[in-house]
């Protein structure tokens, strides 16, 4: 634990995972859109097979 004030460390412990999560969400979204474009899909998600639950 760094020698910071406890309140600053607590804020950092909440903000840092949110920041990492946010960056990973944006990067993953960009990768997913690129994958769908390469696969010839329009990006809306409506042109893929429906979920298995609806295929009875």
């Amino acid at each position: 634990v760094p020698s910071w004030p406890p309140w600053l460390y607590a804020i950092t412990c909440v903000a840092a995972p949110c920041a990492v999560g946010g960056v990973m969400y944006v990067l993953f979204g960009a990768w997913e859109r690129r994958r769908r474009r390469k696969a010839g899909l329009d990006g809306s998600g409506q042109d893929e097979l429906p979920p298995v639950d609806y295929l009875i």
Partner: protein, 300 residues
């Protein structure tokens, strides 16, 4: 091999990163925080002291639950209104559960068959095993050969209470659900979180699926806002006591934040029955780990 030091204990970077990836995938796939897996495995595999395992697990849950929430909403999975109705009761329940835990700590040790263990460990871990076993059994029983479309036609028993203000959950196909019952469920989930040190998602999903008749994929996308709020509250409390290792969390989170999104995508591609059976196996593995840890305490 790269190593980081957590409370004087050397922890391999690659091992912790792999654990983050695995738990993140489970969290995204099942709409849970993953605390019921992360905390015992950090202790058992890497000898991380329990308070730091709990605090760091909650801190990691802040990131994975945020990413899971965003990804599930982009897939149109989950009911935000259910989360918001549960939230106040859940936060109150966490406090009540934490007080119950403090009371149990005052009971000292108990002797069974010549072995002595802290009463709090015995009660909490027994409760953990009973809860998770019940949840796993339900998933396995209902997942085996089930036809999910029936759940769209037949709401669960909890959806038949029509007392107090009523609210609709259109994605789950429910139009008249008692808001009071949802708020009390939040209180109960919060109590379990405070007492057992878990996010509560693992106990909430069976209530949504078998109690209300939520489709499996809508259930895994619901409750994540409450997980996030519980994780933030717990992280702040533990960070103020110095029980969070931020380097450990960030290593787990880099891979975990990606695998949580992959898990959410996988949840869309698997049948509800298969998702339930996989969930049952994962929970059963956690039960085995807890029983093994309890048995080890008795032996030592």
């Amino acid at each position: 091999m790269w190593t980081i030091w957590v409370a004087g204990q050397g922890v391999p970077v690659i091992g912790v990163a792999a654990l983050g990836v695995i738990v993140g995938f489970m969290a995204g796939m099942f709409g849970i925080g993953g605390g019921f897996l992360m905390t015992p495995l950090l202790v058992a595999l890497f000898r991380v002291p329990l308070p730091i395992a709990v605090g760091s697990g909650l801190c990691q849950m802040v990131g994975t639950s945020l990413v899971s929430y965003l990804r599930h909403r982009s897939l149109e999975q989950g009911e935000d209104r259910f989360d918001l109705l549960m939230l106040p009761g859940s936060l109150l329940g966490v406090e009540l559960g934490a007080r119950a835990l403090t009371s149990l700590e005052g009971l000292g040790r108990v002797s069974i068959g010549g072995a002595s263990v802290p009463a709090v460990s015995l009660v909490v871990q027994s409760g953990y095993v009973a809860l998770l076993s019940f949840v796993a059994w339900n998933y396995w029983r209902h997942g085996k050969g089930s036809i999910d479309v029936l759940r769209y036609l037949r709401p669960g028993p909890l959806a038949n209470f029509h007392h107090g203000p009523l609210v609709a959950f259109p994605r789950a196909g429910l139009d008249r659900v008692s808001a009071m019952v949802v708020a009390y469920i939040g209180l109960g989930m919060g109590f379990l979180s405070g007492l057992l040190g878990i996010g509560g998602g693992v106990a909430l999903n069976p209530i949504l699926i078998y109690g209300y008749g939520f489709p499996m994929r809508q259930a895994v996308g619901t409750g994540i806002v409450v997980l996030f709020a519980t994780a933030v509250t717990g992280t702040v409390a533990h960070a103020l006591r110095g029980h969070v290792s931020l380097p450990l969390v960030l290593i787990m989170l880099v891979g975990g934040a990606v695998s949580a999104q992959l898990g959410a995508l996988w949840s869309k591609r698997m049948s509800g029955g298969m998702l339930g059976r996989v969930h049952a196996v994962v929970i059963a593995a956690a039960v085995v780990a807890v029983v093994w840890d309890l048995a080890r305490r008795f032996q030592s």
